[in-house]
Each structure stands twice: as C-alpha cells, then as structure tokens.
C-alpha cells in the first residue's frame, strides 16, 4: 500500500550532477557560486587597489590624523587653531556638518509640514503658491539653490564698512532691532549671551520648566481620559515657561547679559557671527528638502480616509482641530518612513558645503587635509564611514519614533 509509486530509488550515493539537477541542492549551489564570485570581485578590487598604491609609491596609513594640520578654519565649535592636528580638524568639520544637518532637519520639517498642509488649503492663492514653491525647489538642483542664496547674501547685503558713521552722522547701512543685529555680506551678527556660573543655574531652571510643561500636559490628558475633567493647559504652560526663569534671573541679579556686535577695524567684533556660508547652506538645504517633505505630508494627509474628517466634523470639531487631533496623528504613520530618508538626504547633501566655503567635514578632512597630505583613499574611507555611521544613527533614532506612532496591531 505504501509502495505504489515513487519507490525510493536504489541508493546510489551522492552524485556530483545532483548539485545542478536536484532541486534539493540547486539553490544552495547557486548561492555558493554567487558568493564566491562576489568575494572574488571584492578580493580583486582590494588587490588591485593595493597594487596600484604600490605602483604609485603610496602607503596605507592613518598616521596623518595625528600630524599638524597647519591651516585655519573660520567656523569652529571646539577650540582649534592651525597648530592642531588633522584629526582635530576633521572633528571640527564633523561638528560643523552636524550643526547644519540638525538646523536643516528642524527647519525643513517646519517648512515641509506647513507647505504640505497649506498646499491642500481651500484658499486658491495659498494652495497655488505652495505648488509653485514645491515644484520650483524640487525640480531645480540643490547646488544651484545654495549658490543662488549665497550670491544673494554676498551681493545684496551691505559690507561691514557701510555701517560706519561719517562726520555728518550718516551711514550707508544701519543695524536692526535696536542696534543689536547687523546683516552684512559676511554674515549676520547677533548678540551673544554671556554669563558666569550663575547663568547655568538660570539655564537649568529654564530646562526644568520646559520639562514641567510636558509633565503638566501629560497630567491633563490623563485627567481627561480617567475622570473626564478638563484641566487648562495653555495658561499654565505660558506661566511655567516664563515665570520661574524670570524670577531666578532677577533674584540672581541678572547673571546673563548680551554682548552686542560692534564695528571695529575691518569687521564687527563681539556677538555671534552667523556666516553667510552657513546661512546659505542651511536655507537652501531646508527649503529644498522642505519641498520634498511637503509632498510627503500632503500624501500622508490624503491617505487618511475622508470619512475621518467627516466624522470629526459630525462631532462638531472645527477644521483646525480636526487636522491637529484627527488627521495628522494618523497621517504620521504614513509620513514617518519617507521622512527618515529625507533627513538622511539632507545630511548627506550638506557635503555640498564646499560650494560656498562652509567648512564641513567634506571640506576639512575630505578637502584640505587630503590635499595637504595626499591621503585620498584613507580620507575618503573615513569620510564614507562617518556619513554611513551618521545615517545609520539617524534612521535608527527615527525608527524608534516610528515604532511609537505606528498603528499597534494586536
């Protein structure tokens, strides 16, 4: 009964052609062959590189990171001078990259969400304006925007000398906001906060009150859900934001003051100089990526069934509230995954910084250092590794957030 068909073939042992003709083994054979081919290819690539480096008389060595850099960098977030090492210069560049990436991601998100929501507006003018913005920025290369904004900032703004007051009391240009901000063709000069140890106490109180606002809001939601009581949030939030910090500030005798930029010599001194290169790069990156984010946001909102809006209206919610409480939280689930890749794009695109002389890691490690030491391969490998790491970090963090907002399926 059990031996009707498919009698087990007489055991002939394992034959070599089974590797190709026997479906049990075939897929494994193919995979192993593919793996060998791939490894051979990489082996050849590495071998070829080593041989060519030898032919050029170059060694593979990261020792240059410890040598004196010898060049200056204009925007430094950590102490650095021309006597520091190439490694330190790379670190300065990395911090500059991170600075513009973080600033860019924040502004791009704000711009993108606003433009995405407004593009769906029933107001014809607003909707079309946003269409123009999105299409213009999405369809013109980023490099052009960076250079355009930079050129505008250098050509259309006054030079520092224009702020000089002549004998008759006139100047070609004047500072804004009660003589505190100067917009020049070398950058925007803003007052810098200065303070001693007591200043940090004020900052601590401020951070604590921000945390308190969040706790209060969470408490209000809990109260609403558990007991159905409406606890006011707006007024306490405003009070928490201002009162404790101001009280401490004045109690400690105003430990934080502002250092205003002042014209002296060739340039403004004091205050903080936000260089045009940073501003141009930041604005261009944000507006460019913001246009993509706007489309993602619009797509996310359109993905939410119209029934949700109608249901919210039926409950008597107004359109603004509907958007904020009903549509956007659901749309986030659609928005977050593509948003991650936009953040990654922005960070990687910041390597166009050299076009306007912004000293990011591509300009320091990947530019001047490579040029002065001739370590192209090592420098580019390090640079690649950095961008890889930072991209993985960003997507890791965003994935955690995505897991929190995504639909919980049980």
């Amino acid at each position: 009964m059990s031996t009707t068909t498919d009698a087990p073939a007489p055991d002939q042992g394992f034959r070599l052609n089974q590797l190709i003709y026997d479906t049990r083994y075939r897929s494994m054979t193919i995979q192993i062959v593919a793996l060998i081919v791939l490894l051979t290819f990489f082996g050849w690539l590495i071998n070829n590189t080593i041989e060519n480096l030898e032919a050029l008389g170059k060694d593979f060595d990261f020792g240059f990171l410890g040598q004196r850099a010898g060049y200056d960098i204009n925007q430094v977030l950590i102490p650095y001078d021309s006597g520091s090492t190439h490694g330190r210069a790379a670190l300065v560049g990395i911090l500059n990259t991170l600075l513009v990436a973080v600033l860019g991601c924040i502004l791009a998100t704000v711009v993108g969400v606003l433009a995405g929501v407004l593009r769906l507006s029933k107001n014809w003018v607003v909707g079309r304006l946003m269409t123009v913005y999105v299409e213009a920025f999405r369809n013109i290369p980023l490099l052009l925007w960076i250079i355009l904004i930079f050129a505008l900032m250098t050509e259309a703004t006054p030079q520092p000398r224009a702020f000089l007051v002549d004998e008759s009391g006139n100047a070609d240009a004047s500072m804004l906001l009660w003589d505190s901000v100067a917009i020049t063709n070398r950058g925007v000069f803003i007052p810098a906060p200065v303070g001693g140890a007591a200043a940090w106490f004020v900052v601590g109180v401020f951070l604590a009150s921000i945390a308190a606002i969040f706790l209060w809001r969470r408490y209000a939601v809990k109260k609403l859900l558990d007991e159905g009581k409406v606890v006011p949030t707006l007024l306490p939030s405003i009070l928490l934001f201002f009162v404790p910090t101001l009280v401490v500030f004045f109690l400690l005798g105003r430990p934080i003051s502002l250092a205003y930029p002042e014209l002296g010599g060739f340039n403004f001194n004091g205050g903080i100089q936000v260089r045009n290169s940073l501003v141009a790069l930041w604005l261009a990156l944000s507006l460019y990526t913001g246009a993509f984010i706007a489309e993602i946001v619009r797509g996310g909102i359109l993905a939410i069934s119209k029934g949700q809006t109608e249901a919210a209206y039926a409950l008597g919610l107004r359109s603004g509230v509907t958007m904020r409480l009903v549509i956007l939280p659901q749309a986030l689930r659609v928005i977050i995954p593509p948003l991650i890749s936009q953040y990654l794009n922005l960070t990687k695109n910041s390597s166009l910084a050299i076009a306007v002389g912004y000293m990011d890691v591509r300009s320091t490690l990947g530019g001047i250092t490579i040029n002065q030491t001739g370590k192209e391969l090592e420098g580019m490998l390090l640079l690649g590794l950095f961008y890889l790491l930072i991209s993985l970090l960003i997507s890791g963090a965003m994935n955690i957030y995505n897991n929190r907002v995504k639909l919980k399926e049980r």
């Binding site: 060998i36 008389g57 200056d72 070398r186 060739f266 001047i368």
Partner: protein, 338 residues
C-alpha cells in the same frame, strides 16, 4: 572549473590594471594628444580666449611639450583643475603633465609621488586690498577677512604668517580664482591672498585695477613649476628638458622668428646641439633630433612666452624680476645641452 577560469581572468585583469602606467611617452604618442592639467582660468597663465582657445604662460609650456613630442602644438587636451583636484588628476593619469602654478615643496615632490621638472616662475605670496581701506602693510590686517584658494600652499603660509605675527584673521575658503575674485569684488573679504603673479593677473581683469593695491610683503617662496608622476623618468626628462630648452633658447638668442634660420647650422655648437643639427640629444630620450626646434618654433623661447602672456607690455604687467636669465641678475639657469 568555471570559477577558476574566472579567477585567472580576474587576476590577469588585476595585474594589467596595476602595471598600466609606466610608458607615458608611448601612451601620449599613441593617443596623438597630450592631456595637460591647467588652472580653471587665470588670465595670463591659463585661460580660454575669445575664440575658446587656451592661452597663457602655463598653456605655452603644454604646447611646447606637445610640439616636441607630437609635432603639433595644438594637439593638447587642456584639463582645467582646481587647487583641490589637480594632484588627484595627475596621480590617476587623467593628465600626463600638470602645468598649473604649482609650488614645488618637499612633501609634494617626495610624499605625494610627483616629480617637479623645474621652476618656470619664481613667485611669492602676496596680499591685495582695496585702495580705499588705506592699508599699507600686511601687519595692519589684524581682524581682516581673507579670501584664500583652498588646497594650496597659500593656505598654510597664511596661517603661519598670521600666527608668527600674532594677528588674527578670518579665512574665507574658495575653490577657484574666479570665485575668489567675485567674493573680493563684492567686499565679502577685505583681502585676497595668493601668489603675487596671480594677484597681478587677477587685478588686470578688474574694471578699475587702480583701485586695488598689492601690499609690499611677500610672505613666502613659491617656486612654481610643471610636474609629472614619479616613476616614469623618460617622460620626466622630456618635460624637464623642454623647459630647459625654452630657457636656454632665450639665453642663446634663439627665438621663434630665427629658429628656422639657426637650425640650418651655426658657428655656436651649443645652439647646434640644442636644435639638433649637431649630435643627437633627442634620441637619448626617445624623440627625434628636432624636438627642441619644434618646441621653440611653436611658442617661442622663455622670454617670448613671458612677454606675450604676462610681461610688462600686457595688462598684467609683471616685471621679469627673479625670472630674468642668470646673466641678467635673475634665477633662470638652464644646465648645458651636451
């Protein structure tokens, strides 16, 4: 079986790729064109003219080598390179010769694996400022914003000079001379610093050159010269002796006008050896005996090249200075042709 064939093929390909860069002369002659790296545009040294043809001091050297090697001064493919891209372009074989105001330094010669074939312009780094600033010395530049071409020796000299003199400055890195010019004219920087010859060349293209002064301080030695890759001595010799031939021609009074006449034979054996009517120097590095004659006929001797492109009769108006013949108090001194 199949994989081992593949292995073999890949190894052969790998070896071939590894050793394919020794015979530059043969490669150039086979291609029929010389790939020459030049600046992206520096009037007087290397820039395209109204007809789109490259011309200038560095360009002439490329043409001289092409005339010597290929018998055609126009058979040059000019590859514009920035301060940052030039060395990679040469090392990777994208260009056969780099004639781009490149300063001869120890580490470039030894560590980067290049060979400087001589000095075609003795330069030094200077500063240019708008006249209305009223600055008369580089020491007055405390706090100034300085435009520099990134990836050059000027960047390092600048850092050293300001450090030694204990004055502060704000560097504005730019990629090319054109960009620096735009930034400087927009007053986005107070000072532009580069080799003094480059400053003069840049200033000559301004609408009002008189509104800008070049400060008296020369803060570095910048011997500029053409360079080739290490490891191909024959090619290096050809480039070196083409440069020497141009310099020697000026010393011996051979010009593009009289070279054909002198090539028929003279009483001066040195001229005869240079122009190939006596001995056979060209054969020693794989060229025919007329190589130097062709180079001189194509672009003229060193003095002619200088006068035509950057000399006192041009808008750039550079004096010979250190770049005069050794017989006239300069540093140009070609080893003898024998």
């Amino acid at each position: 079986m199949k994989t081992s064939v593949l292995f073999g093929a890949l190894t052969v390909a790998g070896l071939a790729a590894g050793t394919a860069s020794a015979q530059t002369l043969a490669d150039v002659q086979e291609a029929g064109v010389l790939d020459c790296g030049v600046a992206t545009g520096l009037t007087g040294f290397a820039s395209p003219n109204a007809a789109g043809e490259w011309e200038g001091f560095d360009v002439s050297f490329c043409r001289a080598v092409a005339a010597a090697v290929l018998d055609d001064p126009m058979a040059v493919n000019f590859v514009p390179t920035t301060g940052q891209t030039r060395f990679t372009a040469l090392a990777s074989g994208e260009v056969d010769l780099l004639a781009r105001n490149t300063t001869w330094t120890f580490s470039r010669d030894v560590d980067l694996g290049f060979e400087f074939v001589g000095v075609n312009y003795y330069d030094g780094q200077g500063f240019m400022v708008p006249r209305e600033l009223g600055v008369t010395s580089a020491r007055d530049l405390d706090g100034a914003t300085v435009c520099i071409q990134t990836g050059t020796t000027t960047e390092l000299n600048l850092a050293d000079y300001f450090r030694v003199n204990n004055i502060s400055y704000e560097p504005v890195p730019v990629e090319t001379n054109a960009e620096a010019q735009q930034q400087y004219l927009a007053n986005a920087c107070d000072v532009y610093t580069t080799d003094a010859s480059g400053l003069a060349a840049t200033r000559a293209t301004f609408e009002n050159p008189g509104d800008h002064v070049i400060l008296p301080e020369i803060i570095s030695k910048e011997p500029l010269g053409p360079l080739v890759r290490h490891g191909d001595n024959q090619w290096g010799d050809i480039a070196r002796w083409t440069l020497n031939a141009l310099i020697a021609a000026e010393e011996l009074g051979v010009t593009s006008a009289n070279v054909a006449e002198l090539a028929e034979g003279t009483d001066n054996p040195e001229i005869n050896r240079l122009l190939g009517t006596e001995g056979d120097l060209g054969a020693m590095f794989g060229l025919d005996s007329d190589w130097a004659q062709r180079a001189i006929a194509a672009v003229g001797n060193y003095g002619e090249i200088f006068e035509q492109n950057i000399g006192e009769s041009t808008p750039i108006g550079l004096a010979r200075g250190l770049n005069a013949q050794w017989t006239e108090g300069g540093l140009l001194y070609s080893p003898p042709f024998r």
